[in-house]
Symmetry: C2
Subunit: 414 residues, 2 copies
């Protein structure tokens, strides 16, 4: 890419088809928020809905709101709003619990379908909680029935053998942003009779996902990153229609019963996606997520993807053309189609650089031991923001401000 001019950047913002989405979010008045891959910023609709749910629905209509304001339908309503963002037809996505707990449900379900196989295959670099949940299932079923096998990405396809029961992958790597080929991998796994679970934590709302087209079996994902559902927002789970009546998930709470309000003594599971519910839905948090999802109304995920790639390409180009940034090493794939919606750079002073950036209003994040992570979120970031961020970064590197920055490690929910 030849040197990018300020005029060119201004022009890109001018013709950006997603430009008017930015006004739907509350953003810092100064600075740039590049951590939407960790916690999406607040859509104004979210605050309005929280007020509505507390001060009108709960306060005034009390228990009658379960029907009057359709609280009871929220898991389905929200699930159906997420479905088109991840390429799922109706009746396959429901909102509930946390990503970890939803993984437990689908892992157990998948393993129960092929009791003669015991291996759960994943990548060594997968997000830790995903791996821990396999350990959790194994602690109940025993190692003979559930055994975690971790391989490197290079070894993945060779490891797809007929001993593998379940392949569990995160589509976009939480550190590097590396994007896996869902279609190819799912197909290769199916050829060996392996069921596939995709974790969409860093892809739902970030790029077009095609669960149905790829014939994915199960998926889970997170409400608080690119879906902007608020801190700790409920998660979601996808189960392909043809599997819903064949599996039984083990967290048999009353909301998964085919007749929750019959209060019958024994469990009779719903034959639909509602089987994947467990306890009472978290109405306040789920309503906030429901409202936040309205920012995706009439959004074409292909446009989101194009802008995401363009923001990434601009970021990389600006870094590459700046000599003072020569020590930053791109840890994300170089090809835009091989990345999700974030960029990672390594630097021995990544820790201090990150704090210096935050001090100057550019909210990025740090991942041990030496990774700077920048989330690129097309609904509210401008090309101008990328330029401003790289300028700030350049200033920090030039002045070596990172040597002074006191890093206040903050616990972050990736």
């Amino acid at each position: 890419m030849s040197k990018v001019s300020e005029e060119q950047i201004a022009q890109w913002d001018l013709i950006d088809p997603l430009a008017d989405k930015r006004q739907l979010f509350k953003l810092p008045e100064k600075g740039v928020y590049l951590d939407g891959n960790s916690l999406g910023p607040m859509p104004f609709s979210a605050a309005e809905r929280a007020k509505e749910v507390l001060e009108r629905q709960w306060a005034n209509d009390l228990i009658t709101s379960w029907n009057k304001h359709s609280w009871i339908d929220l898991p389905t309503t929200v699930g159906e709003k997420i479905a088109p963002l991840i390429g799922a037809g109706p009746g396959q996505v429901i909102c509930c619990d946390s990503t970890s707990i939803n993984l437990f449900k689908v892992l157990s379900s998948a393993l129960s379908l092929q009791p003669s196989r015991s291996v759960v295959l994943s990548l060594a670099g997968n997000f830790p909680t995903d791996l821990y949940m396999v350990e959790g299932v194994a602690s109940l079923l025993g190692e003979d029935a559930c055994h975690l096998n971790l391989v490197s990405e290079d070894g993945l396809e060779d490891a797809l053998t007929s001993e593998v029961a379940v392949l569990m992958l995160t589509q976009v790597d939480f550190r590097s942003g590396r994007l896996l080929d869902m279609q190819r991998i799912t197909q290769k796994a199916h050829e060996q009779g392996i069921l596939v679970i995709w974790d969409l934590a860093h892809s739902a709302g970030a790029l077009p996902v095609r669960l149905d087209d790829c014939e994915v079996d199960f998926a889970v994902g997170c409400g608080y990153k690119y879906l902007n559902g608020g801190p700790g927002a409920p998660a979601f789970v996808y189960v392909a229609t043809h599997l819903q009546s064949r599996v039984t998930q083990p967290l048999k709470g009353w909301m998964g019963h085919k007749q929750p309000f019959a209060f019958s003594q024994s469990y009779a599971q719903s034959q639909s996606i509602t089987q994947f519910l467990c306890g009472t839905p978290s109405v306040v948090s789920m309503s906030v997520l429901d409202a936040a999802l309205t920012v995706f109304n009439d959004v074409d995920m292909q446009q989101v993807r194009e802008k995401s790639e363009a923001l990434g390409e601009l970021f990389i180009a600006l870094v590459e053309e700046e000599e003072k940034l020569a020590d930053l090493k791109l840890e994300s794939p170089k090809a835009p189609q091989a990345r999700g919606s974030q960029l990672a750079f390594s630097h021995e002073h990544a820790h201090g650089i990150c704090q210096a950036l935050i001090d100057k209003g550019v909210i990025a994040d740090f991942r041990a031991p030496n990774i700077l992570r920048f989330g690129l979120t097309p609904l509210y970031l401008r090309y101008q923001d990328i330029q401003d961020s790289v300028q700030t970064l350049t200033h920090i590197m030039e002045q070596k401000i990172y040597l002074q920055a006191q890093f206040n490690v903050h616990h972050k929910v990736t």
Copy 2:
């Protein structure tokens, strides 16, 4: 009780030591809310906190709020606020997930401690989701390792044998309000080497619970009933200190790791109550519950209990002295010390009576086939409210209004 005078009722309200708590709640301007055992009404503090969490913490401080506003500590903070209400010393209660999911954690934990025993003993009338969760654990461990045995209350003590691994009981019956003797039953179970799980759904915040004194092993409970935490508020779990490092709960999410932010590949459980966390906490809902709990500041649960009993005695006396209510049969224990904080009456037209009451602003609830349920919540109900409710009930019975009432079954979260 001799006929109760209006003057007497007014006098009780006048000297009520809890009278000033009522102003902390948003209550219907007309009518009486007798469904706080299903969904507590909104404390004003809850709405204020929701606004704070969305419009200031999330909106302005974004990801830095995990530290700046101590989001990461919420499960512990809220757990420690609930602890004194249920007689638990520090470090034993944590707020997370739903009651059902917390039951799954403690059931699995308890069963793992005595693998030679397989029976989970409970009462046939226990809340269905509690029983379903045992089925769920059994579906993973196998019937040889987890087998549900249901008995009637009369047969409970005889069923406490050395084959029983776990006794799982709800302290207050969700239909009748019957209160079990936690101390006696826990002791009897322990004499047979049985671990005990108490579900406090209808007791936490309703009456003094003495988990530590009774040497209870595990307990779970609900945030949205007597704790007024809002619809679908997160639940809580109690694990006695001496068991925390001896058990491993199987929902091994990253928040239960001893170093969640080390992102290590394998799970190393926390040795404290935080082991019972799983995924990312639901910050908005949990903050609302945290704020709602401030209404219990400086509340003496013994005073709550005394007023609860007095409200119940008044309700029963007013029903008994009214001939027109002779067909209502008390289904709760007659002795106040044998009840929780609710009353149940049966009537063949309970369905229509409940709807007629709701139409006239007295929010009670109905449980199939013929139960009217009245929640008595001392923090915001006046003695006058009980009188008004019984007067409305009398009017409905006298005029047979229940025959016309169109019952709109609403799904309710008990």
